[in-house]
Subunit: 301 residues, 2 copies
């Protein structure tokens, strides 16, 4: 099977898996459940659960114990988008061609749906603890990683710095920008791959290698996003180009120019690949994961 059709198949499988973990819409609290499910079912690359499951397989993991964590990380990613889209935050009416959650369900319900998804992510991940023969030490290590990378020392921290960067305009420094990308984008990529490694029974040294590789992947992914905002076309991206410049947003491209940004992206991609090749030399490999990572950081959409 070609990489593209394999990715398509895996995305579809992950989508079904996530849906199987969503709450049944019923009872007096039905509306918040509908708003949560609407948000999660809006599509997307399902990148984080796929990275998690492929890293798990790379370390020899098999079986279903990873699945609650795969659903959980997508719920966390989704809640962050629902809250990001709110009028007080980015005030977006559309995402992926569909109306955003607060446009359909109202602002109060969108706040509760975001809260509901964040909380339900933990409820869902905790199901892994109840499975027969669950390794509770590894499960709690995995859950701690998820919580830390999603919280104020991870994604929420990145969002905070991002909001404050808006007020600074062109006074944003490279250090500040790197903090935003590391926390807002890379932290959840790190959580995905680290949880795959932890549940795949990787040792501490190898979990550190994965943490570092995921950092490089996350930042490279974000710089590629910034580059595509300038070089892409409406046709390939499916969204207007040049929106960063229009919104007066500081990116690697506005800060360092497109060539230097491209060079940094390539360097970080190479670092990530080199780290994974180091594991390959120890007999730990997953060709699909390697191709997926290559495709993410050289993507044109």
């Amino acid at each position: 099977m070609s990489f593209d059709s394999e990715l398509k198949q895996k995305t579809s499988d992950v989508e079904k898996l996530i849906i199987s973990y969503l709450p049944k819409e019923q009872g007096w609290a039905k509306t918040v459940m509908s708003a949560m499910n609407y948000s999660v079912c809006a599509g997307g690359k399902r990148l984080r659960p796929i990275l998690m499951s492929e890293t798990y397989k790379m370390f020899g993991g098999s079986g279903s114990q990873i699945e609650p964590f795969m659903a959980a990380i997508e719920m966390i990613h989704t809640y962050s988008l629902v809250h990001d889209d709110l009028p007080a935050m980015d005030n977006d009416e559309y995402r992926r061609g569909r109306k955003t959650t607060h446009i359909v369900y109202g602002e109060a319900m969108a706040i509760l749906a975001g809260d509901g998804l964040l909380n339900y992510a933990f409820e869902t991940a905790l199901k892994a603890f109840e499975a027969d023969g669950a390794d509770l030490k590894r499960c709690s290590r995995a859950l701690s990683i998820l919580a830390q990378k999603a919280g104020i020392y991870g994604m929420i921290g990145g969002q905070t710095a991002d909001i404050e960067a808006e007020d600074l305009g062109s006074n944003v420094t490279e250090e500040h920008l790197l903090f935003i990308h590391e926390h807002k984008t890379a932290a959840l990529i790190q959580a995905a791959m680290m949880i795959g490694a932890v549940l795949g029974k990787a040792d501490e040294d190898r979990i550190s290698v994965i943490e570092r590789a995921a950092y490089e992947i996350g930042i490279a992914f974000q710089i590629q996003d910034d580059i595509l905002d300038v070089t892409g076309t409406l046709e390939t991206l499916g969204k207007p180009v040049g929106s960063d410049e229009k919104n007066n947003k500081t990116t690697y491209v506005t800060l360092k120019g497109i060539e230097a940004a491209g060079a940094q992206q390539k360097e970080m991609s190479s670092n990530a690949i080199a780290l994974l090749e180091g594991l390959d030399a120890q007999g730990i490999r997953n060709d699909f994961l390697m191709e997926l990572i290559q495709s993410l950081i050289t993507r044109i959409k």
Copy 2:
């Protein structure tokens, strides 16, 4: 020591404990941390952590393993207030005489502070898993209870039903109102007491007794709130009386009249006390907890 001074001492101890678990305000994400800490340090009865710790002691629990959970449940209670106060929700500018979080830090930061507190509650509770000799099975049972009672099958579910009740005005049924009180108020009281029981090594039957007693306590506490809104004075309550009627809010009092509401409150209080006396007969008792519960449901403020 009198009950009042003992309660005062315990509240002050719990306050210090919670503060010791708050994040240090530093780095690029400092603002969200300040907003979280501002919200948690706004005072309050600290009822949930006290109920948790007293139930823990009632079952013979000792030592510090309960502490991360005590801080966590107060963080969850606080985040729910921060999000509840937002303009899209109750739009409150003051709480306990202080400006609400979104008034001080802005709406975007208040949304993130609420998200941050909910997420940090899980990060904090997970610290109990790392303690020497931690019983991971009981810790994960306790964390599952916290997540479930705080989420869409608990508190968030109750908030959803509460928002929808506002649109229904006087068409709210008793069944709907009971759902709101059970989930919005009683669920977190149940979580507090059940986690105390679980970590205090109570068996399943006794955990069920606690769950039931906490249900009765939670609803009785809420009915007492509704009664005080009619019979209280500005002086004792520290907030305007009659606000439920003014806001056209359906309560037990507006639905059934003050006498029937009072009778139901007394019945539920007696049920709770009877359940705890049943444990007392098995040698499981905590006089302070019993007095605390009595005081909650007969309070005049």
